[in-house]
């Protein structure tokens, strides 16, 4: 019994070195060498300054920008969370209705049947950086109007920022909200 315990404890130290130190050192070393951009968090720069990670959604409260998905975490990257509302919880329906009301207010003239689901239903992480392609085109007229840009150039922006399904089959095609908003800023600056 005591002998086993003593072996266990020594085993712990040894396996600890192997699985924690050696393993992490090997993987970190190879990753930093092969994929430094991904390994450091897929950082996005703007005017030489880090302004976010491509993987983490941000809150764009001004209707001049493309909106991301509703977030229960308020896009707080250090506290990822879902709303956790169950399907028969009235709070879930209220939340969806409130999101819908906001969309209808900021995009005058649209009907509920035109609103893409991902713009009114919140994500699990609360940090989803993407919206569906339909959701991006849906917002294009508003973004164009509020920024005084021609609709065609905003629609072009969506088209160039659409990422297709992997191999045409896996996952959903999407638009990264942070990247398209940066491109939008770029477009506004170059027009004036």
């Amino acid at each position: 019994m005591i002998k086993h315990l003593w072996t266990s404890i020594r085993m712990l130290v040894l396996l600890g070195i192997l699985t924690v130190v050696v393993y992490a050192a090997v993987v970190t070393g190879i990753s930093q060498l092969l994929f430094p951009y991904q390994a450091n968090g897929s950082l996005v720069h703007y005017h030489g300054r880090v302004i976010g990670s491509k993987l983490i959604g941000q809150s764009f409260t001004s209707p001049k920008f493309f909106d991301g998905r509703p977030s229960a975490a308020g896009y707080n990257a250090a506290a990822s969370t879902a709303s956790n509302y169950g399907p028969t919880n009235p709070a879930l329906i209220k939340e969806v209705q409130a999101n819908m009301a906001y969309i209808l207010k900021t995009n005058p003239g649209v009907k509920p049947s035109q609103v893409p689901v991902d713009l009114v239903e919140s994500s699990d992480s609360g940090l989803d950086p993407d919206i569906s392609v339909a959701a991006a085109y849906f917002q294009a007229p508003r973004v164009a109007r509020l920024n005084g840009l021609p609709l065609s150039s905003v629609r072009h922006l969506v088209a160039t920022h659409t990422v297709g399904r992997f191999l045409g089959m896996y996952g959903n095609s999407y638009v990264n909200v942070l990247e398209i908003n940066l491109a939008l800023l770029h477009l506004i600056h170059h027009r004036s």
């Binding site: 250090a78 169950g86 919880n89 239903e121 993407d130």
Partner: protein, 564 residues
């Protein structure tokens, strides 16, 4: 069903089918001490270790010694993990200056990670220091699946009439020959897809809209690899694999699904190789495989049809996206959740509490069965337990003494298998009844109506099945649940294993009976059908009442547009 969904399932099932034979055979070779291709670089290292520790790899333990060594080792790890969590504030590698973890949370975390459950009553990103995450919890994510694997290997050896082997030798080999090589490969694939792998601290960012954001970073890719390969499921952050940092793309999602199933499925084939009963292994793989697909269908179709109440609002499209990440697609999300529940990983890529009732019914079913390939090694043990019970039932039906692999199954074996089987529903139903009866338990409920009941039931079941996922609304951080679920994980992990080890010991002592024309064969469609039938009937009888109170009630109320 959309083309994208079919594509996901074709790849997932295809990869498992292609890998199970070579990987299962490889594992069998390693644990039969036959030559494999990794001998050359690793054997000197391993043998150096054995010499240093005074372990003679050729000296076998008895079933009892093996069990004692296994449980003692595991308990030593749990105690040490607890101590390190309590001392977090004083330990190095704590760039965010996280304070000590409180006693009941430290107890819950140490037991849950020490039992391969990885139930998390905390959010990693704002509770744990880098040392706790990597020095403590990641270590447990490596060694606890290794322990699960040794349980199955030792049991298989006993079934095939060989000696039990040496626990410490098996433990080291499970790490060096199985988990580490696969982890390195998959960790790098994870980084390729965008998971951070850095020793740098969290990033403080000023966004273009003038707000600030703190982005958690660390060696997350190496964490993700072992989290899924070891069917652990403890997330680096609260959102786990829904967090784009942990699971950034549709492809990384697919990799994680594959990582979860690779070893549990291969272990079934290892059984076939080591006992020489490959056909029996295929029968068990088919039974578990069909259940896996059935659970997948139950998870997927509700998402595709949507929530009737939300659909009534008349949006564009009706795919249910509450609590899901867009990029995975419905097929990818469903494949992930089916796998995390079947293989008892417990990481999540969507919010289980917001899932539609029939989807939740599928999650529950997987945890009740606990043998749809199950956790690494442990699912196989559960399946074999049901095989023993099925053989017994068949024997009763035709009036013969039941046999399994040439050994007579008698009163002692059936009693032990029944104890191991009944323990699971006992823990779940008694634990839930207690939590529903006590005000301290009811305080944890977040959603109203049947969903609130489901939250409690799910938490207790997740602990007993060593799954670790949660209906996130449950107040898991309440001391009541931290202590209760902590205790349940330990009993759920070790009590049935002890019964199975005693069963192995008693089988080892028996003389082999040569097979005759009257022997019932434990393979083929007939046996597979009876096994599947027994599994489904026994579980349905046990769990139907609680399902009627939870997800089924929720389902019919939702169809009637009844909210609470």
């Amino acid at each position: 069903m959309s083309l994208q969904t079919v594509a996901v399932w074709v790849v997932v099932v295809g990869v498992f089918l292609v890998t199970l034979k070579p990987l299962g055979t490889y594992i069998a070779s390693v644990f039969s001490f036959e030559p494999t291709f990794l001998d050359k670089p690793l054997r000197p290292l391993e043998h150096g270790v054995f010499r240093m520790f005074g372990i003679d790899p050729s000296a076998s333990m008895t079933a009892r010694q093996y069990g004692v060594a296994l449980i003692l080792t595991n308990f030593a790890w749990i105690v040490l993990s607890y101590v390190l969590l309590r001392l977090q504030g004083q330990l190095p590698f704590n760039p965010q200056h996280m304070p000590a973890v409180n006693p009941q949370l430290a107890f819950n975390t140490a037991t849950s990670f020490g039992t391969n459950t990885n139930w998390q009553a905390y959010s990693g990103e704002n509770t744990m220091s880098l040392f706790s995450q990597f020095g403590n919890l990641e270590f447990l994510q490596f060694v606890t699946p290794a322990v699960g694997g040794t349980m199955a290997i030792a049991f298989i050896r006993a079934l095939s009439g060989k000696k039990m082997g040496n626990f410490f030798v098996d433990l080291v080999l499970m790490c060096t020959r199985v988990l580490l090589p696969l982890s390195v490969v998959f960790a790098i694939l994870m980084v390729w897809q965008g998971v951070p792998e850095t020793l740098g601290a969290y990033l403080h960012i000023h966004t273009i809209t003038g707000s600030t954001q703190v982005v958690p970073r660390g060696p997350m890719a190496s964490w993700e690899a072992i989290e899924h390969l070891g069917t652990n499921g403890g997330g680096f952050t609260n959102a786990n694999s829904a967090n784009p940092l942990e699971n950034p793309t549709a492809l990384s999602n697919l990799f994680q699904v594959i990582m979860m199933g690779l070893l549990p499925v291969a272990f079934f084939y290892t059984l076939g190789v080591m006992t020489g009963k490959r056909k029996m292994a295929w029968t068990l793989i088919s039974v578990a495989g069909l259940m896996y697909l059935a659970i997948g269908a139950m998870v997927y179709f509700p998402m595709e049809l949507g929530d009737p109440v939300i659909n009534a609002l008349g949006l564009h499209g009706h795919i249910y996206r509450v609590g899901t990440e867009l990029v995975f697609g419905t097929g990818g999300t469903a494949a992930f959740e089916t796998s995390t529940m079947s293989f008892t990983t417990g990481s999540v890529a969507s919010a289980h509490d917001s899932a539609l009732p029939i989807t939740q019914l599928a999650y529950f079913s997987a945890m009740f069965l606990n043998l749809v390939f199950g956790g690494k090694g442990v699912g196989l043990l559960n399946m074999l337990m049901l095989v023993v019970i099925t053989v017994f039932i068949m024997g009763l039906m035709v009036g013969r003494t039941p046999e399994f692999l040439g050994k007579k199954i008698e009163a002692r074996e059936v009693s032990l298998a029944s104890i191991a089987f009944l323990l699971h529903p006992f823990l779940i139903l008694v634990g839930t009844a207690l939590s529903v009866a006590l005000p301290a338990g009811l305080k944890g409920v977040f959603n109203p109506g049947p969903q609130g009941f489901a939250e409690i039931l799910y938490g207790i079941t997740s602990g007993a099945a060593n799954n670790g996922s949660a209906l996130g609304g449950l107040g898991a951080a309440l001391p009541y649940y931290e202590v209760t679920i902590g205790i349940i994980t330990v009993i759920g992990r070790f009590a049935s294993v002890m019964a199975m080890f005693l069963l192995a010991e008693s089988l080892l002592k028996k003389r082999s009976v040569p097979a005759s024309s009257g022997t019932m064969r434990t393979e083929g469609i007939l046996f597979g059908g009876i096994l599947a039938g027994s599994v489904v009937v026994l579980n349905a009888l046990t769990f139907f009442p609680v399902m009627a109170l939870g997800p089924l009630a929720e389902h019919y109320l939702l169809l009637a547009h009844h909210l609470f």
